[in-house]
Symmetry: C2
Subunit: 333 residues, 2 copies
Amino acid sequence: MNQPATPEVSTPHGKIMLVGLGPGSHDYLTARARAAIAEADTVIGYATYIRLVADLLDGKEVIKKAMTEELDRAIEALERARQGKKVALISSGDAGVYGMAGPTFEVLFQAGWTPESDIQVEIIPGASALNTCAALVGAPLTHDFCAISLSDLLTPWPTIARRLDAVAYADFVVALYNPKSGRRTRQIQEAQRIFLRHRNPQTPVAVVKSAYRPKQRITFTTLQNLADADVGMLTTVLIGNSNTYIKHGLMITPRGYANKYDVEIGRSGARDGEKAGHSLSTGLNGWLAAIHGSDKTPAELAKQYRLPEDYIAAVLSEPLEVEDETVSDGVAE
Amino acid sequence: MNQPATPEVSTPHGKIMLVGLGPGSHDYLTARARAAIAEADTVIGYATYIRLVADLLDGKEVIKKAMTEELDRAIEALERARQGKKVALISSGDAGVYGMAGPTFEVLFQAGWTPESDIQVEIIPGASALNTCAALVGAPLTHDFCAISLSDLLTPWPTIARRLDAVAYADFVVALYNPKSGRRTRQIQEAQRIFLRHRNPQTPVAVVKSAYRPKQRITFTTLQNLADADVGMLTTVLIGNSNTYIKHGLMITPRGYANKYDVEIGRSGARDGEKAGHSLSTGLNGWLAAIHGSDKTPAELAKQYRLPEDYIAAVLSEPLEVEDETVSDGVAE
């Protein structure tokens, strides 16, 4: 995505910068996002996002587009870049997360653009809505999580429903993007119904509106009452996993996974037997040893561990390897 | 999480700031993250993270901890805050995503802290590894995605395996955190095996090491070759969904979901019949109308749409409501 080493033409090279603004407040702009806007000749974005950075736009060409005109925004950016202009395409959150990066590359590829052409493309990452909403409510994302958009404008409902069902079953923390709009009011009810197939009705839910903006509002509810919550276009919904709790007005997902299925804990109460910096006794190696040493059939083990029988059978078909326990280990982001 | 309106003591109030550094380069620090470090008396973090901001630490107390000493870091922060100090607990990426926010609240709660106490807590969100890695490889996260840590230091393997299987089936884009370490070498192989139960061996995979740092390295591979990729502690692995492709060295997940299951497309080839800004004909309302108008049994529909039979039956047990189509709609982050 760099400029060619030996430019063949003397016209100035255009540039498209896909800028993630984070939540929108200037405090949460990265230095690079701010510099990219300063560097731009033209700034293109949805009117609400343009407003968030209005005081940084003096002397620039500003093009406001409606919410649904994403391809138009990308086409305008390409036209300006072809004229040698530097263009900032701004998105709230992260330009790569349900943002402008996808539509922009679709337009660029259709126009025959390649990274070797004389239009440079740069993506400037930012904190997405799930990061900023999590920071406001406590520590809900300390364990595995996923993001699902409830918008069916570009995605068939069975695809969305299948994803909701899969992650509800597998106990992820879930961030729902685009949970509701003027017309789309039933999607959130269906999401609730699917989650209730697997999750406790008391599962904590945070509803965050306009995070880090003047109209910010945070409410806590439960899965049971989710359909009655005040949810709109500028709202992100965070649904906890089976260990998430709310205490003193904070939503917390504990890092250590105090699993509700006894069978996964192994030597119950033997936490003192676990070694710091080492895999759990119920980690991969301990689990491999347990199933290799078990008298049960793959079908019985599949039921016990709620895993596919063919996966268990494949693992059991291989000899048990004993791994080296002397190397140090750790957890990092 | 604000200071009490009427402080009861005259000693200075301590503060714990959980700072997400983003990828680590100063260009991607938010203004608030930089100000928080400037404001801090004490900065605590894993040695690698301390190094990333070394030039901002003049005159401050700096406490370096090992990777696995997360609770120690939180305890040190609390001790300093009780002395009235301002403490920045720094994490790479987002402090809330597999970061220090969780362990810190665990320690604070155990010590009897409440948000009304005289120690203020602030979480400063940043771009997480999945955001920054995505920005470097193209636009892989334009559709639903999830983050799964392969570390079994605190999570039983069956929990991790169940999550991998669920999201492979439901066709998420997946970011694998902590994919491998000195001792944990087999988890990534098991993840590959589970994914191959559901996904095409040619599914694109990006392997990103040390994003936005001097030793940054990006390689593309396929699910089939994932186990052979050069993956380590500072690596994030991005696995595409069934629509993700690599073109001109960029990994792209198209925003519109060109679904591989014909049945979900509905009026095939009738894209011209879809209305901009409106739900797809295969969106929730279209799908509800289709199953209500079908002669098939719930079991047959469940198989057709790969959804649970009891969900289909519950939907069919309710009358079909026709929604108002006159309200405008849109997609936002």
